[in-house]
Assembly symmetry: D2
Homo-oligomer: 190 residues x 4
Amino acid sequence: MELDPAQTALVVVDMQHGFCHPDGSLYAPDSEAATEPCAELVDRARQAGAKVVFTRDVHPPDQFEDTHYYDEFDRWGEHVVEDSWEAELVEDLDPKDEDLVVVKHTYDAFYQTELEGWLDAHGVKDLAICGTLANVCVLHTASSAGLRDFRPILVEDAVGYIEQDHREYALEHADWLFGEVTDRDEITFA
Amino acid sequence: MELDPAQTALVVVDMQHGFCHPDGSLYAPDSEAATEPCAELVDRARQAGAKVVFTRDVHPPDQFEDTHYYDEFDRWGEHVVEDSWEAELVEDLDPKDEDLVVVKHTYDAFYQTELEGWLDAHGVKDLAICGTLANVCVLHTASSAGLRDFRPILVEDAVGYIEQDHREYALEHADWLFGEVTDRDEITFA
Amino acid sequence: MELDPAQTALVVVDMQHGFCHPDGSLYAPDSEAATEPCAELVDRARQAGAKVVFTRDVHPPDQFEDTHYYDEFDRWGEHVVEDSWEAELVEDLDPKDEDLVVVKHTYDAFYQTELEGWLDAHGVKDLAICGTLANVCVLHTASSAGLRDFRPILVEDAVGYIEQDHREYALEHADWLFGEVTDRDEITFA
Amino acid sequence: MELDPAQTALVVVDMQHGFCHPDGSLYAPDSEAATEPCAELVDRARQAGAKVVFTRDVHPPDQFEDTHYYDEFDRWGEHVVEDSWEAELVEDLDPKDEDLVVVKHTYDAFYQTELEGWLDAHGVKDLAICGTLANVCVLHTASSAGLRDFRPILVEDAVGYIEQDHREYALEHADWLFGEVTDRDEITFA
């Protein structure tokens, strides 16, 4: 699968301590295992001149106090709180000045963020998506990308997950309804 | 589960000929089977004074000509084309003047529609969701509702599906991440 | 100014009893005076095969009860309440089945409505805008259209207003920042 | 006018070299003159514990190549190009880590940006708005804030403009339709 760097962004979803580091409150070993594959994709995207986007899931301590129903702390416990170590990206993924770092407050990196506007203003149409969790923030972001008429390509050997069957469903669902699935070997930025 | 009619809407997703009638191009028997359960919920919601919303999936013939990637005709074949018999609601579900009928062009009834604005302007906060397909438009709409801070409650014995395991995943996914699942017997509008 | 009917919609803003009829609570004679010019444009757009969109400003009686600050009843008094005679379109402007009627709850016909999605799904890119009030709902809608990359063309002899200088500013502002201004004689749908 | 720091943000619009420095391509002396008043408000907001938001207008060199109609370079000439000196904030306004810096690509700081999501997640409801240009980005941002149910308060002696009557209209328009106008002396963050 050849991706044109002039209209492609690599989107690295939520590779933060809270999810990927053994001390993180929502740590999953298979999220940590996605770090090196994501880093390798970042290197290749940069060398080819494609855009690189990192998303960070961040919850201000009081975010859910005013909400009617949506309360991630209630479902998951407190996690990736604003300004905490948990909310930082893992060390091996180091954004450069020209990358976009999207701070998101829900599962969906498009919901009330600058992502769509930035992609449009930079002429990006195709998205290679990696990161974690496959069936939560990766899936919700990919789904939202599809409806907004981006081409979302999930990189199956660069996504993290809690259980293997979560990953299977996310990939099948995305492939069936709005996107594509491939692996790192298949992707060429050129 | 008691729902306050003053802040609740029943949302009936895509119960149209194209999905629910044997002559529909995307007919599934279990979508048709959801008709009577949906109609029964509509009756009870109306009697209690809750709002009723019907969504209709509608594709103008040329909708996907200008798109970069999102093309439902490519994935599903032509279906529920604007002004066709396929795009009409099934006979047993007959909107009244005071109901909202949302015409949607993607899987998500919130995406670029009047749904959120209408719910907000009418003080609706809780959504009982039924209709079809469980893991496509029902799931995408429920997910979008959750992120927008509505309380999405999927009515498991009033949703249609192609395969049983599609339904299972949709219900589990919604229950785990952003909503709740119940059945008709459990719901009281009062 | 030649407008291609295949990618043009005429947008008629808020020509309702509440604004255009002497018994309306926010009646302005120059809003009423816009009725015939709007009707004439509607005829010509229809004959040429361009799309026609009517917006209706509608406020549910309780709309502003839950809001923090935005309260149009506080600023304008109660007006165009849902299901009232005030909220109906004036008799001379009679939507046909193929037209879009947008119910809006704020000054901006794009905010939380189906307008953008409908225009996109129908391949519309250029908007001839008429209706009332020039410097309120016409201006806010035109401005929102511009930012969304539609071409908003204000038809200066088919807009209503309370005071003449309101109209002047609205036209100048739109022309300077995001759109164009013309009059009926200049427009050809072909 | 007392503003509760716990639910207030000061929003400083587009105080960048391109608009406020004599070498900027869209320089206006009265934009430059707003620098000190904005800086003074920033100091007071910080001391009181209110949030501080800076917006930056930024145009990638190719932003308008794919657009149908919206082309700011065509209207204004090339300005505040991404990564240029023009696009930087003026020296006297120096964001701190806890501030939000919003990169916007249109006149409206809410359009396709993270601003609404960030304000909501942080419990902000009231906005004191200053910066430049009064009748362009300040006005569009304030208008968008109002429709989204924030309380937009324009600080009249801390806004920049090209011509005095531009400022007058912007303030009148905002005050009449969706917000309030005050001056620095009147504002207390407490």
